[in-house]
């Protein structure tokens, strides 16, 4: 199980990486942590002719707080996010979610940007990005542009990034006083890709949920998506157990869900209801834990 042959080049700056992408076009692939790409290359399911390594670009990794948002460099590794007090404090959702991503040795290498650009439908990061209203800063030959997570995830491992662009940073609004986060995931074993995962971000007006409601789900079909009908149900209401139940059912009914080796569509829909319910329960009751995986 060895990769098909490729040429390797290490980009030393963002400009360098963009120039290399422009030169080699679709024959090239960026490698960040490589924790998803390299298995695919080893199985020869991905076979870039050029591998452009961005790990040596300085300034692509790091976490900074600026204007009420957290700016996370795309090359920041999961383990750095886990260890960051700023992340744990300002974006509790990431703190809840990160332990579900694979295992420690993978998190020591895998990057936030890599996961976002890989856009695996069963990965956790895209789900969190949708729920958090993240914005992605992309740079290409013609300059920098910003794209909302909502517009970024298009389909199975397909995103809004152009072939010559590189993801520079992720901007996530810091949690407001009135905001609460929840996350829940069901996988066969801890660290596996999700059969269903759900993230919830709720802002409150006193006892009631405000209009700012985000529920995102993953593991179901070709991409992570928002459960907008469920969001609409919750907006402006007090989060009673009955309402949460209703929202969970709505989410299960509205999202796309597919069948595969590990789960039928009917089972997935049922799972998504339980995960949305659990994510909302976690968000509403900050004292509870992330919820056991099983």
């Amino acid at each position: 199980m060895k990769p098909a042959p490729f040429q390797y080049v290490a980009a030393l700056s963002v400009e360098d990486a963009i120039a290399l992408l422009s030169k080699y076009g679709s024959d090239a692939k960026l490698i960040a942590g490589g924790q998803s790409l390299v298995p695919m290359m080893n199985f020869r399911l991905a076979r870039p002719e050029w591998l452009i390594d961005i790990n040596r670009i300085s300034g692509l990794a790091g976490i900074a707080q600026k204007n009420g948002a957290l700016r996370i460099g795309s090359l920041t590794r999961y383990s750095e996010l886990e260890a960051s007090e700023a992340v744990q404090r300002s974006v509790p959702l990431l703190g809840l979610m990160l332990p579900h991503i694979a295992h420690k040795a993978i998190r020591n290498r895998g990057t936030i940007g890599g996961s976002i650009c890989h856009a695996d439908p069963a990965a956790e990061m895209p789900v969190a990005m949708l729920a958090l209203d993240a914005t992605f800063e992309l740079r290409g030959p013609t300059g920098t542009r910003r794209i909302a997570a909502d517009d970024f995830f298009i389909g199975q491992m397909t995103t809004g990034i152009e072939a010559e662009e590189i993801l520079i940073a992720i901007e996530i609004p810091e949690i407001k006083n009135s905001e609460k986060h929840g996350f829940s995931e069901f996988a066969r074993r801890r660290g596996d890709f999700a059969l269903a995962s759900a993230a919830a971000v709720l802002r409150f007006n006193g006892e009631r949920i405000s209009d700012h409601v985000r529920i995102a789900v993953g593991g179901l079909s070709e991409r992570a998506e928002r459960a907008r009908a469920a969001e609409a149900l919750l907006a402006g209401k007090a989060p009673t157990a009955a309402l949460i139940e209703e929202a969970a059912k709505a989410a299960a009914a509205e999202v796309k869900a597919g069948s595969d080796l590990h789960a039928t569509e009917a089972y997935r829909r049922s799972l998504i209801a339980t995960q949305v319910k659990q994510a909302l329960a976690v968000a509403v009751d900050h004292t509870s834990s992330t919820g056991a995986k099983k």
């Binding site: 098909a4 590990h262 009917a266």
Partner: protein, 808 residues
């Protein structure tokens, strides 16, 4: 319960939890596994494997692959047909179906090797594999075993115009009478998926030719079979084949693959260079070997009191493309139909069916876990029907300790064991009454909390005379093993075996046994870590299988050691003018019985044996080396009468009781194992620390089979679980802390009273988990008959029960 947990610094060594000799190297990463061996000029092999489940191979063009820089040899089915004979069968059927090391006329499963390449490195060999053009004519795939019998879409082997490679009925006792007298009959269909132990080291082979012939290095656990297959396939004298097994990174029955060896031998000859092939994990999952999937229709007849009167099993084993040793699972099922119960009448009707899947084969326990699963599920169902507790039903049917040794209707002789005591020990360890209270509270709180019990015998060793009953052929019988013990001139000892170690700790336990026999410290005994067919003593059946170490192999070791011991005493007697009967050996010295001072150092005698040749007793051959080939005295031949199919199939019987405490999340179908209690009895424990380790490991295999692992094929015969992302092994978070208690009922049939333990945990665990999950879901009225119990399947069962209104 008498198991020792501390090590003393004197013998006897058998029975002590001695830390392992192997570990210093292995923990430092310094064990030499097959892939760690490097040779000058060595090439690396890769295979092109079939993407089709069933396809005729019309044409192969390997020109581009041959032309690729770095490629030294390419072979295809045409070469193989010209250069080799088919692989010889292990269980010989009357109709010989040719099975070559590469697909010759057609490919019969996804992943079957179609061509092989040797190149400067593995990556280049894989590049070359992609350049080979194969024209396939796809044929309908045979996937479902019942369909394969009744409405075959095609034949896996056209030669027999059927996919049934074996069908037979074995009947013992008055079965029809038992069923006509029965007050209760329970029956159901049970099915078990394909799964496999996936040793962490994948299978590998290195081949090298020189003037003395062919040498192979391989993680093979049945060297006798392998070299025999090679000599027939390659048509070279057996004496020109040398097989060396270095460290083996786990075996579990899976590590035997003559086809890989033949391919590597051909590539090495063609390239005139050493060639290494090592499976990658995808190849390992697609094509090393699978424990077959099986469908079992069981009927159990009971009287009004819950006494089992008779048992009928109609069994279908999906052998995949296995024509080398089919019926292995069938045989080990019907010989274990009794489990640990007195059942006077049993009938087994078995079908071994060919399909377009990876060949079936040996995997920890072979057949026995599935038989136990069926019996122990049926016992639960029967108890419900009779209206008594299933523990009580078991107690009423156990073979009593007072009946040992007990001859079963099929001719097995259970040597020893107190099944009631084992069960009671498990219940006591579990605090069973408290568990029941906990369950009551949990149920009141709306939780789904289950307690599952399964009891089992764990047979040891396998009398290969059984093949005669399966096939009618009479070229294989009995079971044995070889051992070589050599005391050097300084009184230290080296030992080698026909068996191949793959993690069992033989370097340690064999040293313990030999140390006791020869009165020396185990540190003075060196056990060869691997196997070398040019050095080690071995038989056709040699190797690691059927839990045979503790009885059969120990017999060979002890006989060889005792031969040396007697010779030492004869020489010592001669040197000291005493009689041999007056002398004994301990603490590396010769003593007169009862004396306070040693007579002379052992090394003095040993050195005499090697260099003072004229002072040896008259007629005594120099040297202290003994090679013993042991035939297990418990093995026998089948009766001459054709109708008498009784045989001592297995030779001794360990036993155990497992209690699994689980909880099911009704929303997700996920199972959490809260506790797992094991009471087991494998006779006298040679090394209790290693015994307990085996129990943990084997039970974990059962947990994997019950809950996670599934080598699943789709309706076109595509295997869907070709990676560790889709073939799920239990991790440290999925396995509980096992609570293990040992009983020690020594076997009267083995030299040390020891019995096997390697397979044990894997046998009752499928049933214990399933019984527990079903018990958890009792308020919902769910019945579970199909493994594995994936969350999806459990959820489906819950939905079904709810829809049928069984929910109470």
């Amino acid at each position: 319960m008498s198991v020792k947990t501390t090590v003393s610094d004197t013998g006897p060594w058998v029975g002590q939890p001695l830390p392992r000799r192997e570990d210093a190297r292995l923990t430092a990463g310094a064990g030499t596994f097959t892939d760690d061996i490097r040779m000058p000029g060595m090439l690396h092999a890769a295979f092109l494997r079939s993407p089709h489940a069933h396809a005729r191979i019309v044409r192969i063009n390997a020109d581009k692959a041959r032309a690729l820089k770095g490629v030294h040899a390419v072979i295809t089915g045409e070469d193989v047909e010209r250069l080799t004979k088919p692989i010889s069968t292990i269980i010989p059927f009357k109709m010989f179906l040719p099975n070559y090391c590469l697909a010759v006329d057609k490919a019969r499963y996804v992943g079957e090797p179609v061509a092989a390449i040797a190149a400067v490195d593995r990556a280049t060999a894989e590049d070359a594999a992609e350049l080979i053009e194969v024209e396939y004519e796809p044929l309908p795939a045979v996937v479902d075993p019942w369909e394969a019998i009744e409405q075959p879409p095609s034949f896996v082997f056209d030669e027999i115009k059927s996919n049934v490679i074996w069908h037979d009925t074995f009947s013992y006792g008055e079965v029809d009478d038992a069923f006509s007298r029965a007050a209760h009959v329970v029956s159901d269909r049970f099915s078990v998926q394909r799964y496999i132990s996936t040793a962490l080291e994948t299978m590998g082979v290195i081949g090298k030719w020189d003037s003395s012939g062919l040498t192979l290095w391989s993680a093979d656990q049945r060297p006798g079979f392998a070299t025999h297959a090679l000599t027939t396939a390659l048509q070279i004298p057996h004496s020109q084949i040398r097989l060396v097994s270095p460290y083996i990174g786990g075996g579990f029955g899976n590590k035997r693959k003559a086809t890989y060896m033949v391919i590597v031998a051909l590539l090495a000859r063609e390239a005139d260079r050493p060639v290494k092939y090592l499976e990658d994990r995808q190849e390992n999952l697609l094509g090393l070997v699978h424990a077959s999937n099986q469908v079992m229709d069981l009927e159990m007849a009971l009287d009004a009191d819950g006494k089992i009167l008779g048992l009928k099993l109609r069994d279908v084993v999906d052998e995949g493309s296995n024509v080398i040793n089919p019926t292995l699972h069938s045989m080990l099922k019907f010989t274990n139909m009794l489990n640990n119960y007195t059942i006077p009448a049993v009938r087994f009707e078995g079908y071994a069916v060919l399909t377009n899947k990876c060949h079936s084969g040996a995997n920890r326990g072979i057949g026995k876990p599935f038989m136990c699963f069926v019996i122990e599920r049926a016992v639960e169902m029967a108890a419900k029907k009779v209206g008594i507790d299933s523990l009580e039903l078991r107690r009423r049917n156990f073979i009593p300790a007072s009946a040992m040794p007990y001859e079963s209707p099929m001719g097995n002789v259970y040597d020893s064991g107190d099944f009631l005591a084992t069960l009671d020990t498990a219940l006591k360890t579990a605090n069973y009454d408290d568990l029941l209270k906990q369950q009551e509270e949990a149920r009141r709180a709306g939780r789904y909390f289950g307690i599952g019990i399964a009891t089992a015998v764990e047979p040891n060793s396998l009398n290969l005379s059984a093949y005669t009953l399966m096939t009618g052929r009479t070229d294989t019988s009995g079971v044995g093993e070889g051992a070589l013990v050599r005391m050097e001139g300084d009184g230290s000892v080296r030992v080698s075996l026909g068996n191949t170690a793959s993690g069992q700790g033989y370097e340690t336990v064999v040293a313990q046994i030999v140390a006791d026999e020869l009165g020396i410290h185990p540190h003075r005994v060196t056990v060869a870590p691997g196997f070398d067919s040019a050095v080690n003593p071995w038989l056709h059946c040699s190797g690691s299988f059927a839990n045979k170490f503790s009885g059969t192999d120990v017999g060979a070791i002890i006989e060889a050691a005792r031969t040396i011991r007697a010779k030492i005493l004869r020489i010592a007697a001669h040197l000291t003018g005493r009689k041999a009967e007056e002398l004994t050996i301990r603490e590396a010295a010769i003593w007169v019985h009862g004396a306070n001072e040693p007579l002379l150092p052992l090394a003095k005698v040993a050195m005499t044996a090697y260099r003072d040749l004229l002072r040896l007793p008259e007629g005594e051959m120099p040297g202290l080396e003994a090679r013993h080939f042991y035939v297990d005295p418990q093995s026998n031949l089948p009766a001459m009468s054709k109708d008498d199919k009784r045989l001592r199939f297995q030779l001794t019987f360990s036993n155990s009781a497992h209690i699994a405490v689980t909880e099911v999340n009704p929303d997700t179908g996920a199972v959490k194992i809260h506790r797992y209690i094991i009471a087991h009895d494998c006779g006298r424990e040679i090394n209790p620390m290693l015994v307990e380790g085996m129990v943990h490991g084997a039970t974990t295999h059962g947990i994997g089979g019950a809950l996670y692992e599934d080598l699943i094929y789709d309706e076109n015969g595509q295997m869907l679980a070709g990676s560790f992302m889709d073939y799920l092994k239990p991790t440290a978070l999925d396995v509980p802390e096992f609570e293990v208690v040992a009983l020690e009922t020594p076997s009267p049939f083995t030299p040390l009273g020891a019995k096997g333990v390697g397979e044990g945990g894997s046998i009752p665990s499928l049933a214990a988990i399933t019984n527990s999950v079903e018990d958890a879901l009792k308020p919902l009225g769910v019945t579970l008959t199909e493994l594995p119990l994936t969350p999806n399947k459990i959820w489906d069962a819950i939905q079904k029960a709810r829809a049928e209104g069984k929910d109470t």
